[in-house]
Amino acid sequence: MSDDDFLRVTDVSKWYGDEKVLDEVSFEMDRGDVTVLIGPSGSGKSTMLRCVNRLAEAQEGSILLDGEEVLSPDLDVDELRREVGMVFQGFNLFAHLTAVGNAALGPRRVLGLSESEARERAEAQLERVGLSDQFDSYPAELSGGQQQRVGIARALAMEPKLMLFDEPTSALDPELIGEVLEVMHGLVEEGMTMLVVTHEMSFAREVADEIVFLDDGHVIERGPPEQLFDHPEEERTGRFLERITSHD
């Protein structure tokens, strides 16, 4: 029954000034699902992602997360963000904190764990992303791929029920993309619910339960990867996929 959807985005619209960047976007996810948003740059996919944790404000529509209205003006956004992890294209690691410091800040200051509990949790998450030998490294001492894995560990340390990935590999050198995708693969296998914006089509095909193709703020088409990639119904989808795969 669709009323039980874990995340249900209904007719979400957003304007920046006069420009409509999201136009009645709708999709839904079950718990444990992986949904990948694809589309040309400027299509609104990152904005859509940010509306889910209210880093961007949608003006119309509804986003139900676990039955709660995310767009409600009464919602405590900080509480929402505790439960929704986010990974950024530019990593955005706290530049003054070590890897452990980055992953421990949320548990310590937001969840109120003790110093040692927070550290323990941070270390566990860094181990999970394969960085057990970089606990005390500062962001500037890490490669891009390592930094992004710290970014993932930082989000995981909050034990989120939904993870948002905003083009997590777009800022990485090609040879560093693999290690980040591998970590994300691991999360998929563990059953993490993930909403991902990415241009990595082979990754999307492998792990996505559903692909949502956005263009100009509209959902042009959505469906399971086999259908959308191999038999796109819309001409625009086909053209986009052709463009992007010819890049690979």
Binding site: F88, H96, M158
Partner: protein
Amino acid sequence: MASATRPAAIRERVADSDRSVGRLLLVAAGALFWGWLVVSWINRWLGGVIVPVGQPLVPVGAVEAAFGAIPGLAAYAADAGFVVELTPVLSRGTWLTVVITGVSLTLGFIIAVPLAVTRVYGRFSAWLSLGYTELLRGTPLLAQLFVLYYGLNLASYVPGAVSGVFARDVVWVAILGFTLNGAAYQAEYIRGALESVEEGQITAGRAIGLSKLETIYHVVLPQGLRYAIPSWTNEFVYLIKYSSLAGFITVPELYYRTNQVASETFRYTLIFVVTGMTYLALVLTASKLMERVEDRVSIPGLGAEREE
């Protein structure tokens, strides 16, 4: 370094030893200066345990004799003796200069941080902060001190809790003036540094559920204050020198005391050269201290690495 050719390596070693000789001299001068100051202060606090209060630590006669014995320096024996005679006045005035600077800088910092934060992240409060900063930076510091001391007569309203800490309550008026004025300047330096903290840092803080204020406290300030150290050091250095304006509201700090001796003895040049050297020593100490602080709190990759 290992691959450097021999001549270059030698040149480097010579340069290194030059630098270390210079460093050694500087350290020795610093040790002498601060040693003299601290011993003089202790002597005064303990009521003259080493030499009678008001007397130089070394006898004037001995210095004159030493100068007289060295050919070429004999002509300056009287001047040297005069400078030694001046040292108790110098050390006494320097005490107030150091205290006024230290206390004003610290209190000013406590005010400056919220001023800078509201300036960058506030809405209405940003205008208040801007108004305060422009008013205090846009009017002469001396005029501000005059308003506090002569205009508002604040010296008679010093609260009982702190009244009497200094021999004269006017010192508190000077501290208040430098605190309020310095806070405006410090806020400007800190504001600039806060603005250079990347926007993505705030986004990331908010994304893990920190409130805006928590993000500023845990993420923006630790980075911004580090960025601010080099320019903030300017304010430290300025304040050391500007604290001489306290003399104009009768605070007996370094400038006030030496000026008094100068007007009694008419030895202006010598006295103000020595006074100037004393300020210089304080300023060099401050900038060296802040370099140390900067090194101590530096984090790999955060801000530009300072060139040695």
